[in-house]
Symmetry: C2
Subunit: 206 residues, 2 copies
């Protein structure tokens, strides 16, 4: 599907045809796109919990301010970010050496940078949220390209999600994304700021 049509057609959908399923094959296709997202040093701090069973969706709804679409969506994705820049560092930086991007000295220098950063809790949160949100946008666009609607959610009790879904301490719950098929006619698009309101040239100037 053409990207322009996907971008123009993507809406945050909260009314779903509850009975229509998202298959394993569809999920696999969506995540084959997601995994190609860029991330800082290619460290890919993203992991995802896909919730499809009626009982687990109901439980997740209870963690997400009782938003009905969390239960009614065909699948719900808990989007997680590892808070540890070192989690994949050895593996991923070695891949750069093998492929000729880095020499060993450069790899060691980057490892030292990551080690220093890993000690700063707030930095790690911002770092995780940044890379993982790039992947979350890919997720929603790839889904729309397959005719699957979505809605990103940030209104949830992270501690409750963590407890009910077994999320380890080393992960931030970055957002929740509902996936499914819209049951409602399109409503008017909400206001978006225009080019001249969001773009500055050469320096911040308005």
């Amino acid at each position: 599907m053409d990207l322009r049509d996907i971008l123009a057609g993507r809406r945050s959908v909260r009314d779903y045809l509850g009975q229509r399923e998202i298959t394993d094959a569809q999920l696999r296709q969506v995540f084959e796109a997601v995994r190609l997202s860029p991330s800082s040093y290619n460290l890919q701090p993203w992991e995802f919990v896909v919730v499809r069973s009626p009982e687990r969706k109901k439980l997740l709804r209870a963690c997400a301010n009782d938003q009905a679409h969390v239960e009614e969506a065909s699948a719900v994705v808990i989007v997680l970010g590892s808070l540890d820049p070192l989690l994949h560092a050895e593996d991923i930086l070695s891949d750069r050496v093998i492929k000729g991007y880095y020499d060993e000295a450069r790899k060691e220098k980057v490892m030292a940078i990551l080690k220093a950063r890993a000690a700063d809790r707030e930095y790690c949160r911002v770092w995780a949220v940044r890379s993982v949100s790039l992947a979350a946008m890919t997720l929603m666009l790839a889904a729309k390209g397959m005719g699957i609607d979505s809605c990103p959610i940030e209104g949830f009790e992270a501690a409750k999600v963590r407890a009910e879904f077994g999320i380890p301490d080393g992960y931030e719950v970055v957002m929740i994304v509902t996936l499914g098929f819209s049951s409602s006619p399109e409503r008017p698009r909400l206001k978006r700021y225009g080019f001249d309101e969001i773009v500055h040239f050469e320096k911040f100037n308005h």
Copy 2:
């Protein structure tokens, strides 16, 4: 351009044809896509400083660990996030009332939520980075759909960027994105984790 081709073809490009320009019309088309990105409560905390002049790109390179592609790219985008959830709140929540999504009571309830959140500095940072990173992914995919390569950068001195580009205190420098046209043949893609490594079902289970 088909999204699958865009996703498969997008790479983080650091070698650019420096002389090839990105026109105003191209920039406008890219940001017409960006502005359709979703954000929490549709608050759109994103703003962008587009840097194209050779002097200013050189200056930005000096703020970004001397990475050559910051100077050599055709255009460089400083991606900013407002740290104030209230900045557009009155305007954007009123839009919801006008379009029948909210009644006045719901609007006031959301305003109260946002006011409470605005007091929490770290929350505001995470909130801004999350929504703005969604827009940054749209930016890179929309650019690729127009044949424009990109590279996201998080290695920069935020305080220096802030000083040189006049960024007000109320904004986080979320990332920098270089835009241009690759001058090099494609190198091997770096390792990406597979579906089974990043996706859990029903709960976090590996």
